[in-house]
């Protein structure tokens, strides 16, 4: 029998399946109880928390949207006053972008990437736990401030000088800015984990040309986060400095520059759209093959399109600033890039259409949402090309045309695939199927409600209705369409209600799913549903892009892993050749305490710059606790 040289513990190769599973469970499972739940570093548990929290924020943001639609349903309505309305549209946008869309996509990455690349946990799992707590505290900060009637009222992009000390007294803008710091810190942490997991923890044989498209998408998204998020963190921090310390970054009268804010914000803000959209591309590319019964058409093209989109997304930001008075030639460069990005987007669409065309589609709920996505996103993409043109954008800037466009892109381009993904991976996450009947109802209501709600907004915009107005006069020709939109939004909300009811009901009472209910081809379906704490009893070895289709009967596995400690296989970046066995950190409460200390420092720093000095002491103490050797087998590298 082969044993570990140091501990004399048997290696996995000498244990039968049942013995191995028992040993791995003992090594990898979290402790039961409250502190066990706080300390867990299991990527699946943390991802589920992330997803649930993000969907709670979606519900809250949706309720705000309904409140706005109620207010706009007739002219000169008095349901909501102007100040509260300002808070509501700021909260809606900030919440949906920073607390729902980005976190939920990263959460899906946290859950799926380690499973899809065939490893036992995400890289830096304690950082992952820290990330969730920071995200939660940032979300609570924003919503508590809103509940106390001190919610930010400066729009989701908080343009200076309106968000500066002169025009925004009080702490509303600071709360917004610091919420940004919380959520971006959380996002950056996850992005680093995903990059390392994809590059160094792939199953042997999963060379770069065999990585699932979803994993490629999450990898590109993570690079976008790493490149884009620092810009907004710099922006929000300098805004707080202007407001608290008296620096003048954004004050032109004293050498600052108000346009600097817009550049910093949109240098982050436009890639943000793709941070949300690219994971959706990955989801669609993964869901489609399972329902058409054939491999994805144009793998190479899709990967190229993902990377091209990711890079080009950094050259589009000025198309949000076409009316600020930059040189026209310079602006036209951003028009050119904005139109050029339609090329990789078109490549993606044609690859999906070809996959559908060459396969035999089975129209289950996930595929319905994918089809809804294709239709909706193409419409949103077309209006995107329209607003990429300076003359047209100058006309419709800050009107409901833009509101319609970005909801088509964000809901059509991200939320439709996301809900399809929830229907697709819910069985993996919970071990239970969602209802096909309720799923079809949810799709029908959401698709119909969405188009009835948002398509007329294009017309409203062309009729000149500006964004962010809390009411309008009866003599303006907008009342009829606004009432129609508000009524249609009820259909959309009903669709989401059906979806949430289905998810809650199925969580406990859905039909048992089995390991691979969709007969899908990627590695996450090679383990049980829900997966055990250690993900895979034995690390799979990959020989093709669709391992469960080509080697379903006998998936080869790697042998020689230790079982007495949490251990991962580290592989090479390009060919995924095994390089080392590396320990994976054990559970720890210190990420939680570090997050609490960080949250105290960040919130305190809204009120006093000295918080950065004194608040760093508890953070340092918590970090020492985090990294202090505990004498566990995982301490050995």
């Amino acid at each position: 029998m082969m044993r570990d040289r140091d501990t004399q513990e048997p290696l996995d190769v000498d244990l039968d399946d049942a013995e191995l599973a028992a040993k791995l469970e003992k090594t990898w499972a979290s402790r039961p109880g409250f502190w066990g739940a706080i300390a867990t570093v299991d990527h699946k548990v943390i991802a589920r928390r992330y997803v649930v929290t993000a969907f709670v924020f979606l519900i809250l943001g949706g309720l705000l949207a309904m409140a706005m639609r109620l207010q706009l349903s007739r002219p000169e309505a008095c349901f909501i006053g102007p100040d509260r309305y300002n808070q509501i549209f700021t909260m809606h946008g900030s919440n949906m972008m920073f607390l729902f869309a980005v976190p939920v996509m990263e959460a899906m990455a946290v859950y799926l990437v380690p499973l899809m690349v065939g490893t036992r946990n995400i890289a830096f799992p304690r950082l992952n736990a820290f990330s969730y707590w920071i995200f939660l505290f940032g979300g609570l900060l924003l919503w508590l401030s809103f509940a106390l009637d001190t919610g930010p009222d400066v729009g989701w992009f908080a343009y200076v000088p309106l968000s500066g000390p002169q025009y925004a007294p009080g702490k509303r803008a600071d709360l917004w800015a610091q919420m940004i710091t919380f959520t971006e810190l959380a996002a950056l942490a996850v992005a680093v984990e995903i990059v390392v997991t994809v590059f160094k923890q792939r199953a042997p044989g999963m060379s770069l040309d065999r990585i699932p498209v979803l994993v490629w998408a999450m990898l590109v998204m993570s690079f976008l986060v790493i490149m884009a998020m620092p810009a907004i963190m710099v922006a929000s921090s300098t805004l707080i400095l202007d407001r608290l310390v008296g620096t003048q970054f954004y004050n032109p009268a004293l050498g600052g520059d108000a346009l600097l804010w817009q550049h910093l914000f949109w240098f982050f803000g436009h890639p943000e759209v793709y941070i949300i959209f690219l994971p959706a591309v990955g989801m669609v590319s993964t869901i489609l093959p399972s329902f058409v019964g054939r491999p994805l058409f144009g793998y190479l093209l899709l990967v190229m399109a993902l990377i091209a989109t990711g890079v080009l997304s950094f050259g589009l930001w000025v198309h949000h600033m076409f009316v600020v008075g930059l040189p026209r030639v310079g602006e036209s460069f951003f028009t050119a890039s904005s139109m050029a990005i339609a090329v990789p987007a078109g490549v993606q669409i044609f690859c999906w259409l070809a996959t559908l065309w060459a396969g035999r589609p089975v129209f289950r709920t996930p595929l319905l949402f994918v089809l809804g996505f294709i239709v909706t996103f193409v419409i949103g993409g077309l209006t995107g090309v329209m607003v990429a043109s300076v003359p047209l954008d100058s006309q419709v800037h800050d009107t409901y045309f833009v509101v319609a466009h970005f909801h088509y892109v964000l809901i059509g381009g991200a939320v439709f695939p996301l809900i399809g993904a929830v229907y697709f991976w819910f069985p993996k996450m919970t071990g239970r199927m969602m209802s096909e009947r309720l799923g079809r109802w949810a799709f029908g209501l959401i698709f119909t409600g969405f188009h009835l709600t948002f398509f007329p907004m294009h017309i409203l915009g062309l009729w000149g209705m500006p964004r962010r107005v809390y009411t309008y006069q009866p003599e303006l020709p907008w009342a009829g369409l606004n009432l129609f939109i508000s009524l249609s939004s009820v259909i959309l909300a009903a669709g989401f209600l059906v979806f949430f009811i289905d998810a809650l009901r199925s969580w406990k009472n859905g039909l048992p799913a089995g390991p691979n209910p969709w007969k899908a081809s990627t590695l996450e379906w090679a383990t049980s549903s829900p997966p055990p704490a250690y993900n895979f009893r034995r690390i799979p070895v990959v020989g093709s892009r669709d391992p469960l289709w080509s080697e379903a009967a006998d998936l080869p596995v790697a042998a020689g892993m230790r079982t007495h400690r949490r251990e991962l296989l580290v592989t090479s970046m390009v060919e995924a050749l095994p390089q080392a066995r590396e320990s994976s950190p054990s559970d720890s409460v210190w990420p939680f305490w570090t997050a609490i200390a960080t949250a105290i420092m960040l919130i305190w720093s809204i009120f006093s710059p000295w918080a950065v000095v004194w608040g760093s002491i508890p953070i340092a103490v918590a970090l020492i606790g985090w990294f202090w050797p505990k004498g566990t087998p995982e301490d050995e590298s």
Binding site: V303, V329, S332, F333, T335, A336, E575
Partner: protein, 103 residues
């Protein structure tokens, strides 16, 4: 040039050319307007040529003796390079159509 670097030139030369030209597009029009020059156009078309060259270098790396993964990366680099060459040609076209003095 290192062979591997050349094989993957499409991955970094065209995006770099595009990024640099996008920045130059914010700087050069002021000079072009005052001096009546066409440096913005020159920069854009030169960058497009660099992007195309990067793509072609990657194409040359896709030889039959290369490994499967290397072939994949070469082909992807080639296509990626073409994408950026197209974006740069569009930027170049803009410099021909629009006056640098227009604000």
């Amino acid at each position: 040039m290192n062979f591997a670097l050349a094989r993957y030139a499409g991955l970094y030369v065209p995006p770099a050319a595009w990024a640099i030209n996008t920045q130059l597009g914010q700087i050069l029009p002021y000079g072009d307007c005052s001096a009546g020059a066409g440096w913005t156009a020159v920069a854009a078309f030169t960058a497009a040529a660099f992007a195309a060259a990067g793509a072609l270098l990657s194409r040359r790396g896709a030889v039959v003796t290369a490994s499967r993964t290397a072939l994949f990366l070469s082909r992807m680099s080639f296509l990626l390079g073409l994408c950026f060459a197209f974006a740069l040609l569009m930027q170049g076209a803009a410099t021909v159509l629009i006056s640098p003095c227009l604000y």
